[in-house]
């Protein structure tokens, strides 16, 4: 089930980004800002669901870390777009991410206890991996503003850190 979801998210990301493979169709900075911001919001929402549903100490601590870090990154992102006078622009990739995340949350809503914890943490590992990939191969190379690029690079390190953190939590749930 998880594998299917991951594959679906990968496909969605690819669908969203495939037309962008051509140089002329690279995402613009306003689109990149929107995608990065959306990716953070999604993880905060997933964490808030976990904070409501989980009773596991490690899972709760992890979810709190996700809320804190992604809200901090997104605050920096909002400050930056304001400073650059850029208006984040909705786009196919952001939409695909949001749609996949909404479906995942609906699926997780039906689970309880250890089954929920495992599904949440496994999805966190997969999700962070996906976003790392998108940041590395598409968003960072496409960003034209140096400050935006730098913020995305910090975002990548945060996401990579969370991926390892999630893997550690997953290993403890086994």
């Amino acid at each position: 089930m998880l594998t299917r979801h991951t594959a679906a998210l990968a496909a969605l990301l690819l669908l969203g980004t495939a037309p962008l493979a051509q140089a002329a169709d690279k995402p613009t900075d306003p689109q990149i800002a929107h995608i990065a911001y959306t990716a953070g919001v999604i993880d905060v929402e997933a964490a808030k669901q976990a904070l409501k549903k989980s009773k596991n100490k490690e899972v709760l601590a992890f979810a709190k870390d996700m809320v804190r870090d992604h809200e901090a990154v997104n605050k920096q992102a909002l400050d930056l777009v304001k400073k650059l006078k850029v208006t984040p622009e909705d786009n196919a990739t952001s939409k695909a991410l949001t749609k996949a995340a909404t479906e995942e949350r609906a699926k997780l809503a039906k689970l309880k206890g250890a089954a929920f914890d495992k599904a949440y943490v496994d999805n966190e590992v997969a999700y962070h991996k996906q976003v790392d990939g998108a940041l590395e191969t598409l968003l960072i190379p496409s960003a034209s503003n140096a400050e935006l690029k730098s913020l995305l690079e910090t975002g990548l390190k945060i996401f990579q850190g969370h991926e390892q953190h999630a893997e550690h939590v997953a290993s403890m749930l086994k």
């Binding site: 804190r68 870090d69 690079e153 910090t154 390190k157 945060i158 990579q160 850190g161 969370h162 390892q164």
Partner: protein, 103 residues
């Protein structure tokens, strides 16, 4: 300058065990990187982590000490034991540092 330096040497040796001789070594955290990533210290020295990020970090040794470093803030630890330690951030395990503590 050279003769002065020679004068200092015996003095330094005399006080080597006294806390007054202990140093504070700063490690800066910027964009999820500890720098310098490797420091050399001695027992009694204090490591001060200065966090320039908007994120909370930790300096954590597996089965050892754990220092919380709040965003835009700093935190310190006085080294009590000799030996080399690898530390990492619990929130972002991709952040790594190393301290070689001389007796």
């Amino acid at each position: 300058m050279v003769p002065k330096r020679h004068l200092w040497f015996p003095l330094a040796l005399t006080f080597i065990a006294a806390p007054v001789n202990a140093e504070t070594i700063q490690v800066t955290i910027d964009k999820l990187v500890f720098s310098p990533a490797t420091v050399e210290a001695k027992v009694g020295d204090t490591i001060e982590w200065v966090n320039k990020d908007m994120f909370a970090h930790t300096a954590t040794v597996k089965d050892g000490w754990d220092v919380m470093i709040p965003p835009k803030n700093s935190a310190s630890l006085t080294l009590k034991a000799a030996g080399a330690v690898d530390y990492f951030c619990r929130f972002h395990p991709n952040m790594k540092g190393h301290i070689a503590v001389a007796p």
